[in-house]
């Protein structure tokens, strides 16, 4: 069973497993309202192949730091630590989202940015999960890029 776009429930279930595995068994993610927060850290992975698009994870500063601290078990993570942790989180979410999509696809290495990343201009947001855990909010979005026919 593969799909054109993942559903909110799929993304929640994938991200939930990532969170309980690496952030803590008592740290599930729950859906939240569309709360605006200052995006301090973004991680993105691209999917290319029969389906093309991008999976993005966005977090405010304190959430990214807290997640890194739990994941790497260090009290005061450096900026490099946060960057690594956000990269691995989006890699795991993106990798599992990729497996839901139809066709043969490959996953890019993660890209991490301070602030927001801009999806390609022709990308359409096909799924948006506003989530919450004990340290605050995070947002996961999936963007699809329309495949144009090959012309010569």
């Amino acid at each position: 069973m593969t799909v054109e776009a993942p559903e909110l429930w799929d993304v929640l279930s994938i991200a939930g497993e990532v969170w309980t595995s690496f952030i803590g068994p008592d740290e599930p993610l729950v859906p939240a309202g569309e709360e605006a927060f200052p995006v301090a850290w973004s991680g993105a992975v691209s999917v290319t192949g029969d389906w093309s698009g991008m999976v993005v994870v966005e977090m405010p500063e304190h959430c990214a730091v807290a997640a890194t601290s739990r994941m790497l078990m260090i009290d005061e993570p450096s900026q490099a630590d946060v960057s690594d942790a956000v990269g691995e989180l989006v890699n795991m979410v993106g990798g599992n989202v990729k497996c839901l999509l139809f066709g043969e696809n490959s996953l890019s290495l993660p890209v991490v940015a301070l602030g927001r990343v801009t999806p390609p201009g022709d990308a359409v947001e096909v799924c948006r999960a506003d989530l919450q855990w004990s340290e605050g909010p995070l947002r996961i979005t999936v963007h699809s890029v329309a495949q144009s026919g090959v012309t010569s």
Binding site: M1, V3, W9, D10, S13, I14, G16, E17, T20, S21, P25, D26, E27, P28, L29, V30, P31, A32, N96, C99, L100, Q132, W133, S134
Partner: protein, 279 residues
């Protein structure tokens, strides 16, 4: 966060009363995350609405208690019992059951079904052509039985002890989950059963897996359960308890045999146990 303080108080008291699991302040997210799938399945708008229903619906309450209880189990748990199943129990039964060519197994307190399906995988591999096997999976939790029937497991559950070769042979990915092959699912049937109460009408089993559950009962209940299990196990059958439960005082109905690292319990019979002829 959408769970209200009053709903959380109710859930927290319920969990403490029924399972001794503490959902203290700060665990609102945890409670909500565990109940959300149930709320969704029950067609409720949110967890608060679901908690309101819990207060008047005992069946749903049962499910909620299961969801609030951390359930950790793995495929081929502890390995050694399954090795013994393949190396010792199955060859003996194949010899002794060659006229009926049928093997019956009981996975008692089956939880989410990993034990029953682990056995199904071994039977699929080792049972001679033309033989059939029936595995009865029982549990006190109907929510767990529903999970066994669905035969679906999340990614994190799949990683726990399941060899990758068996994963690709017996499971198909369905969305974010993995689903067991119909051939194996058909080997397993489920039934609601409380070990502490008198058993319903049960057949005779060749193998009973009763692992890591007796530890939760008082001594006299344990003894009573083992006495009643004896009535449903063939004279040449095998009973397997958890590794920490093998030292239980079970002399009256059972003898112990050691097979590698595993203690097997065999029924005590007043007449000689049937011996394989011509071996």
């Amino acid at each position: 966060m959408t769970i209200s303080a009053s709903a959380f108080d109710y859930v927290s008291a319920l969990a403490l009363r029924e399972t001794s699991v503490v959902y203290g302040p700060g665990k609102e997210y945890l409670a909500e995350a565990r109940l959300l799938p149930l709320a969704r399945a029950a067609g409720m708008a949110d967890v608060d609405a679901y908690v309101a229903r819990l207060q008047i619906d005992p069946a749903e309450q049962r499910k909620a208690i299961d969801a609030l209880t951390i359930n950790e189990t793995s495929w081929f748990r502890d390995n050694a019992p399954y090795q013994t199943f393949t190396d010792v129990m199955l060859p003996s039964l194949i010899e002794n059951r060659r006229h009926t060519q049928k093997i019956r197994i009981w996975s008692a307190a089956c939880s989410s079904g990993q034990e029953a399906y682990s056995l199904a995988m071994l039977l699929d591999e080792h049972l001679p052509l033309g033989w059939t096997a029936e595995i009865l999976a029982t549990d006190v939790s109907t929510a767990m039985l529903e999970r066994v029937e669905s035969g679906r497991y999340g990614q994190v559950e799949m990683n726990r002890g399941l060899p990758a070769g068996l994963l690709v042979r017996h499971f198909t990915r369905v969305g974010t989950e993995w689903e067991i092959a119909p051939k194996l699912r058909n080997m397993v049937s489920t039934r609601h059963l409380n070990l502490a109460a008198p058993f319903p009408d049960l057949p005779q089993f060749d193998v009973v897996f009763l692992r890591n559950v007796l530890i939760y009962f008082e001594m006299d209940v344990k003894t009573d359960i083992l006495t009643r299990v004896r009535r449903h196990i063939a004279d040449d059958g095998f009973l397997l308890l958890g590794s920490s439960e093998s030292s239980l005082d079970v002399e009256r109905h059972w003898t112990r045999e050691t097979a590698g690292r595993v203690q097997l319990h065999r029924p005590v019979v007043n007449h000689p146990r049937p011996v394989a002829v011509g071996a």
